[in-house]
Subunit: 572 residues, 2 copies
């Protein structure tokens, strides 16, 4: 079952839906013209098809294991990783001064999504490294940059994020890891970290851990946390991996999916590390990196959805069963109405999630290129939506992919179930989707809703334009946006944040439903009445957009009824 | 993590929501008074807690395997099975003449649900046997009954259903297995069957296969299929297992979940079998058994949801993380609004699905006891809803259970993921949920919608009664029912069944949403304003019922837009 990179979809979205041209018109990204973009996407797509997709099943069947303290990765992963690194795919958006391509984050986003579709467990490795590159670019000293960035960007070394501890998950501020200054300007880092994705591997010369820990004078909570880079092997004077550091992989987790990605419990025992950014300011540095990582995880969900969709479509086109109501009556199951409904739902959802993610990436690029506060606010607002909706889409679409396969979907050899198991964690890590929704209704509405209302204005303005040519699509989008506006106003008016939290997740989902409809409408406008994307837009707007009613009704119910259901009531 | 059987919920539902009393007032079920029912539920609940729940993880960790042609089951399964059999739990509803308890199917339904919650993979074995018992009770000769029923009901022997073949899944009529008459009145059955749940085991003295096959003069399609009972060991004159039959387990499937249940590829090579029912009339016999099996599978979904909910609630009550907005600020995560939203959603959904399933069972019992055509039609109408909504609930609730656990949910040792993987197949087997929805909008609306409208009338009458005392709950239920009525009328008016099929799944889901609200409302009416079930009803009616709007809007879009999206469009 070969994977086919959806390159033409990105190209269409760039041109007609998310307006990548605004990015390439800036001085910062002037070199990323259409020719460059097309060449990069095509090349990346080929790499995903030829190098990554073939090892996808290996990761599931032959999980990474810990042998005598050494992580052994799945068959074929080392080779595939080398080719990812050699192709420059880790540093698509990284600083050219250190070997990166310096392309817009929008391109990185598309490439990451394709890589996720081809092999999610392996893709997670470069994704972690990208986050580290970004944190170092923004917050590290020149010395650290010159030692680490070239190796990370080239892929010779890889990077990890070490936040979570057994008693400090969503509440990072509760962490207990400590750091004490050494005499040489470095620090001794001590503590245990859990859920460390790609905590080690057998194919990079070094593994560099970004570790959150507290200095002796660090306050309790998030404001007393500092960030350190702690390499597995300490770089020698020439910048090559030298003596082993005092850290180790204690164990690997046995997970529901993503078996190819070793999830480690890490032990740091006075390990040598270097401060990144200012003391006690680690959370800020971490957030720089986490924001884009959140978008990256959203794209993991979309990628998994794309892979699952391609599997399901191929199966439905091949499998013959029952009399089908269209064609000559001997067609494959793709001709059954309910199977087609599932496939159309999957495709329409992927398109919506992809458009939201790319639109978020464009806003990030505009913010990088112009330092414009509106672009910044837009990126900040869209990030939790892109993360949660992208990963929810990954789960829902891969789950539907299993269903399209019927009985074969439950059989592991088919490969459909793997997408469903692998992608499950994306709704949890990098901030659970509940955390994303709370971020959206609290921090991202702290501006009194300005960023949200600007988006809603934009949607309505676009719908106004479309009203004359495709009223049956434009009108429902406009009306749903009005409902969403009222909902947003209700949330903004709640002073007690818990009133907002009680409806946060349905609000985020409802916002994504409407945004998705907006981007589908733009696709239809870009394509004209009879194109495939217009038909897909009609499916989405007439059949899926109405879900916003239920979601937004839930969003404005507040906290009282919820807490009326006491812990005891829940136990009856 | 001990499992606690939700006995009090059944008792409440019997009394206040689904009116079990109408069943026990009949002559047929007069003996099943409250005392008997309570004793049975309590005893069954204890068995589930003490015997079945402790082996649940074993099934996942140590899957059934095929060794030298022999199936070896998971550790502890054989012992647990013996206790299930000894307790009489296989024949709760079976004919007392052959050793059954002869209790209402409603009691069987509750017991099966508890058993599913405790250990789904093991429970599937008795569920298959129950289906076989029922088919034999209705369609077998007295000779066959006297040999097989006592052994099946006592659990000495187990039963399977053999329908599916590689090219005949949802389309059973395409099967190729053959049967030819032997000289002694038996038949020689030949063919390969796949996806045979509990195709063999190492703890019953015999395994009896109900096999669909075609006689030489059988027409193509479903009308030419006959049903045979084909035992692993041919009963001798004394009715004990004698010589081995010409059949074997070829292989076991490697599945996403339900590892404790061996799913076999079966090969019948001129195996000796006996005709059940009339020649070429096998589908009718199979449907007798499949209807109740469908309800049984719906209850598997609900059971898995219950188990997953208990896991999630226990975790949420134990886990401390972050400042919580209620209580003293040091509470567990159950106090976070979004966690409470998830738990309330899970509990409310389980209650709705359980009420629908039990209401369906009550209709089955009334139909058995009185042969009333309205009861029959009601049971027939509710069956696909109970199956699809019960299993959808199993999937959605167990998925949410993983989310409540955060990172721990993805770690297999926690046990949350197992529910999610195990229950996944329930939306597929015994007729996919798409098939259930097609059955609902086609066959079950063939009466011009009578059975549906009677249900809707009942819901509105009940809401009218509730209007004076709890208008804020009654009014939305009444209004949603009106929308559902219009939707049903639209479907009934479509002569072309494919117009209905295009919206079948959202219609079924929307119907279930409204039915669920009805039963929640009845619970509130039975309990009064301040009870826990009334608060749960308020949660469901105000936050979950509004989803019917989106679902029912989707249901009436018809087929044209769907097929406008050609196979080629789906491949773009």
């Amino acid at each position: 079952m070969p994977f086919r990179a959806p390159v033409s979809d990105y190209q269409f979205l760039f041109e007609h839906v998310v307006d990548l041209a605004q990015v390439t018109r800036t001085e910062r990204f002037a070199e990323a013209d259409n020719d460059v973009t097309d060449a990069i996407l095509t090349e990346a797509g080929r790499m995903c098809e030829d190098i990554m997709a073939p090892v996808q099943r290996n990761g599931d069947l032959h999980p990474a294991v810990l042998e005598n303290g050494v992580v052994r990765t799945s068959p074929g992963f080392a080779d595939a990783y080398q080719k990812i690194a050699e192709g420059g795919w880790i540093g698509v958006g990284a600083d050219p001064e250190f070997g990166g391509m310096g392309l817009p984050h929008t391109i990185t986003t598309a490439v990451n999504e394709m890589m996720s579709a081809a092999c999610l467990s392996l893709q997670l490795n470069p994704l972690m490294t990208q986050g580290q590159i970004e944190a170092l670019e923004h917050h590290a000293s020149d010395d650290i940059k010159s030692v680490y960035l070239p190796k990370l960007i080239s892929g010779e070394w890889s990077g990890t994020m070490n936040l979570t501890e057994p008693a400090a998950g969503s509440d990072v501020g509760a962490l207990r890891s400590k750091a004490e200054a050494n005499d040489d300007g470095s620090y001794a880092v001590t503590g245990q970290k859990i859920f460390i994705s790609w905590g080690d591997n057998d194919f990079t010369d070094n593994v560099c851990h970004l570790v959150l820990a507290r200095l002796p004078d660090g306050k309790p909570g998030t404001k007393g946390i500092s960030l350190f880079i702690v390499p597995r092997h300490i770089p020698d004077d020439a910048g090559n991996p030298g003596v082993a550091n005092s850290l180790r992989v204690v164990s690997l987790e046995h997970k529901m999916g993503l078996h190819g990605s070793p999830t480690a419990v890490m032990e740091f025992d006075g390990a040598k590390g270097w401060l990144i950014g200012e003391p006690h300011d680690g959370m800020r540095a971490m957030f720089t990196m986490m924001n884009n990582a959140r978008l990256g995880v959203g794209c993991q969900g979309i990628g998994a959805a794309e892979g699952a969709y391609q599997y399901a479509l191929a199966y439905a086109q091949d499998r013959k069963q029952g009399r089908t109501p269209v064609g000559d009556g001997t067609g494959s199951i793709v001709d059954h109405a309910d199977v087609r409904r599932m496939l159309a739902t999957m495709k329409a959802e992927i398109f919506a999630a992809r458009a939201i993610a790319l639109s978020c990436a464009v806003a990030i690029d505009m913010s990088t290129a112009t330092d414009d506060t509106e672009a910044k606010a837009r990126a900040a607002y869209l990030t939790p939506i892109a993360k949660a909706f992208g990963t929810d889409t990954g789960i829902a679409v891969s789950e539907m992919g299993v269903q399209v396969h019927g009985g074969m979907g439950f059989i592991e050899e088919t490969g459909a179930a793997q997408y469903s198991r692998d992608v499950r964690v994306t709704a949890i890590y990098e901030g659970t989707n509940g955390i994303q929704a709370m971020d959206l209704v609290a921090r991202k509405l702290m501006d009194g809703g300005e960023a949200a209302y600007r988006l809603l204005d934009e949607i309505e303005e676009n719908a106004e334009i479309a009203r004359s040519t495709m009223p049956e699509l434009a009108e429902p989008v406009w009306e749903a946006t009005e409902t969403l506006r009222e909902t947003t106003e209700w949330l903004v008016a709640q002073k007690d944040l818990n009133e907002r939290f009680a409806g946060a997740v349905p609000f985020l989902k409802g916002f994504a439903r409407v945004l998705g409809a907006h981007f589908h409408l733009r696709a239809a406008m870009g394509e004209g009445m009879y194109g495939p994307r217009t038909k897909l837009a009609r499916f989405y707007i007439t059949r899926m957009l109405p879900e916003h009613v239920g979601l937004l009704a839930h969003a404005v119910r507040g906290a009282a009824d919820l807490y009326a259901l006491s812990e005891e009531d829940l136990s009856v």
